[in-house]
């Protein structure tokens, strides 16, 4: 159990900088999810915390101690990899016990800790098996078990669920969350899946091209995105953007207005803030997504209740929304108004 602090953390490969100064303060026992599109530097950031990647500039502190030059094994962390990275020639028991064995933990204690972890993860019946004799979900649990037997101060997860099928992913997501709550260990979790991020995180970090665009509680990030990127990335379907000058003649050049599809209402043609033509509708049962084309050919999506009448294809409709649902972003994509 520990705090983790990243201070102006940077990483360059040769002349190209891929992490441009990230500051995060993680409280003891907090579950932080780093989310962002592919290639934005999530893994790199996590691996710098783990000590697998050298820090180019800035500082990583675990429990207040600078660990930039500390070997991974001495950082008191454990990591779960995307492809699990289990030792193929060792049994499940040996896989989980390996770290303890190296640390010189007495045999009886190793046995006890491994069997505790196995009970927690329902792996008791599989301790004698090799990784290749397990299903994907079981391998995933072994990887978790390997992390928890060491009783680390910080858990690091790099997309641990992305190799599982959708159903198992939901189940393991819940298990990970419960486990982290029960053990109270600080966790740093990387994913590109926003649903995972929203459901797991105490606070989430939205990364965009090597920069942490916004850090905050999931609902807070959803409700008050600080940049156009965050508004577009969090929420599904993504936020609609229109040129701000269309609706507010005084707005600066290049400014954009964002409205979430779920906040838009259909009104009669000629009324509302915008006029649009219906291209097609996607009824999904509980909700219906209506894809629209604006006067300037820009696309616009609106999401309505599954029971609401679906506008006909080709029909002209008006779009309206509450004032506090609209978000104004300046030319630099930063949020201008609350």
């Amino acid at each position: 159990m520990a705090t983790v602090t990243l201070e102006n953390l940077r990483k360059s490969y040769g002349p190209t900088e891929v992490i441009h100064g990230v500051d995060i303060d993680i409280a003891d026992g907090e579950f932080i999810v780093i989310v962002g599109p592919s290639g934005c530097g999530k893994s790199t950031l996590l691996r710098m915390v783990a000590g697998l990647e050298r820090v180019s500039a800035g500082e990583v502190r675990i429990d207040g101690t600078r660990v930039n030059d500390v070997e991974p094994m001495d950082r008191n962390i454990a990591m779960v990899f995307q492809n699990y990275a289990l030792y193929p020639h060792m049994s499940v028991f040996e896989n989980m016990a390996y770290g303890l064995k190296i640390a010189g933990t007495p045999k009886p204690e190793i046995a006890e800790r491994v069997s505790d972890a196995a009970r927690l993860l329902q792996l008791e019946d599989y301790l004698g098996r090799r990784p290749r004799e397990l299903s994907g979900g079981q391998r995933q649990r072994v990887a978790m078990g390997r992390a928890i037997v060491r009783k680390p101060a910080v858990f690091l997860f790099d997309e641990p669920l992305s190799n599982l099928d959708a159903k198992l992913r939901v189940q393991m997501r819940l298990e990970i969350k419960q486990l982290q709550r029960r053990l109270g260990v600080t966790a740093l979790y990387v994913t590109h899946d926003q649903v995972e991020a929203m459901t797991l995180a105490d606070r989430m970090v939205v990364m965009n091209a090597g920069v942490a665009d916004q850090i905050g509680a999931p609902l807070e990030v959803y409700a008050r995105p600080q940049t156009a990127f965050v508004a577009g990335f969090i929420g599904s379907p993504p936020t609609n953007f229109v040129a701000a000058q269309l609706l507010r003649p005084g707005a600066p050049d290049g400014a954009r207005l964002g409205v979430r599809p779920e906040h838009v209402r259909v009104v009669s043609p000629g009324e509302g803030a915008l006029q649009a033509r219906v291209m097609y509708a996607e009824p999904l049962g509980a909700e219906t997504l209506v894809h629209l084309k604006l006067a300037d050919d820009a696309l616009f999506t609106l999401r309505q209740d599954g029971t609401a009448p679906v506008p006909e294809e080709g029909a002209e409709i008006g779009l309206a929304w509450d004032d506090d649902a609209q978000m104004l972003f300046g030319p630099d994509d930063r949020r201008l108004q609350g």
Binding site: P72, M79, H89
Partner: protein, 301 residues
């Protein structure tokens, strides 16, 4: 076949699959027999000279030189083999077998240890001159023993390694091929495994011992077989480096037994020696084959 219209179709237990049409079975059978026949003929063809050698090692000298050659074993098996093993012609075959075993084992194990370590260094460590060393190793591929035999002999001689096991083993111990094989294998081991081990607290040599080595055991077994036979079959180098008959290896020893000048060759003993020279490689192949195949089956994904 039940028709889909049959309402009971779903409840009828599935019929046993019908026997295949007779023509097909017969064709398959004929093909099988032909294949076997071909293989058996091939085996007989290759095995025949060895059989002749074995027959020759169980008869007397006059029986061999008097045509026609005997085709069935005689009654001198124990006598000829006993004579070969204990006294031989220049040196007892038992001693030569021992020398060969030391040399072949030394070369095989030495090559494996060295190439494992150098592949480990090249794949997992970033050190100055890494590329240079890599290419140096690559270059030695083009320099088989025969090409560098004179300078190597000079070096071995001035180190006082003539007529010694170290002289037989060390000059042949570096192996670019094996280094490449292990390098290729190490490159296929996912990086995450090394990283997981690092997080688990394994220092590099620990990772090597606990993870890389057990994972390479199939490769090691296969290489051991190849390298043991390579070492066992060395002819030119032992011929140069050993002058004392008590240091002779068996493969060159056979040649030494051939008569020079007016000597009369003791063919049954020479043939017994040849047969004996074949036994250890066969034992190695057969015993390692089991480990080899087990390794293959176990590491199958």
């Amino acid at each position: 076949m039940t028709t889909p219209a049959d309402p009971l179709a779903a409840e009828v237990p599935p019929k046993k699959p019908k026997a295949q049409p007779d023509g097909m079975v017969e064709k398959r059978g004929a093909g099988l027999w032909l294949t076997h026949l071909g293989l058996i003929l091939g085996v007989l063809f290759i095995f025949f000279p060895i059989w002749l050698a074995f027959v020759a090692s169980t008869v007397t000298q006059p029986e061999i030189v008097r045509p026609p050659m005997p085709l069935w074993p005689g009654d001198r098996f124990f006598e000829n083999y006993g004579k070969a093993l204990t006294s031989g012609i220049n040196a007892p075959v038992a001693l030569m077998l021992f020398n060969s075993a030391v040399m072949a084992l030394g070369i095989a194990l030495g090559k494996i240890v060295i190439s494992l370590l150098s592949a480990f260094a090249i794949v997992y460590f970033r050190f100055p001159g890494r590329r240079v060393f890599f290419w140096l190793i690559f270059l030695t591929l083009m320099l088989p023993v025969e090409v560098r035999i004179v300078p190597t002999y000079e070096v071995a001689a001035s180190f006082g390694m003539l007529n010694s096991y170290s002289g037989l083993i060390f000059p042949l111990i570096a192996s670019a091929t094996a280094t490449f094989l292990f390098r290729q294998f190490f490159l296929t081991v996912p990086d995450e495994l090394a990283e997981a081990a690092r997080i688990d607290g394994a220092r590099p040599m620990r990772f090597f011992w606990d993870i890389l080595l057990p994972m390479s055991r199939t490769n090691i077994a296969a290489l051991f077989v190849i390298l043991f036979i390579y070492g066992w079959n060395q002819y030119l180098w032992p011929l140069l480096i050993t002058t004392d008959p008590s240091m002779n290896t068996i493969v060159m020893g056979i040649k030494q037994m051939f008569p020079s000048g007016d000597d009369v060759a003791d063919w049954p003993v020479i043939m017994a020696t040849s047969i004996l020279a074949m036994v250890p490689p066969i034992i190695v192949v057969i015993s390692m084959q089991r480990l080899f195949i087990r390794g293959l089956v176990e590491s199958e994904k």
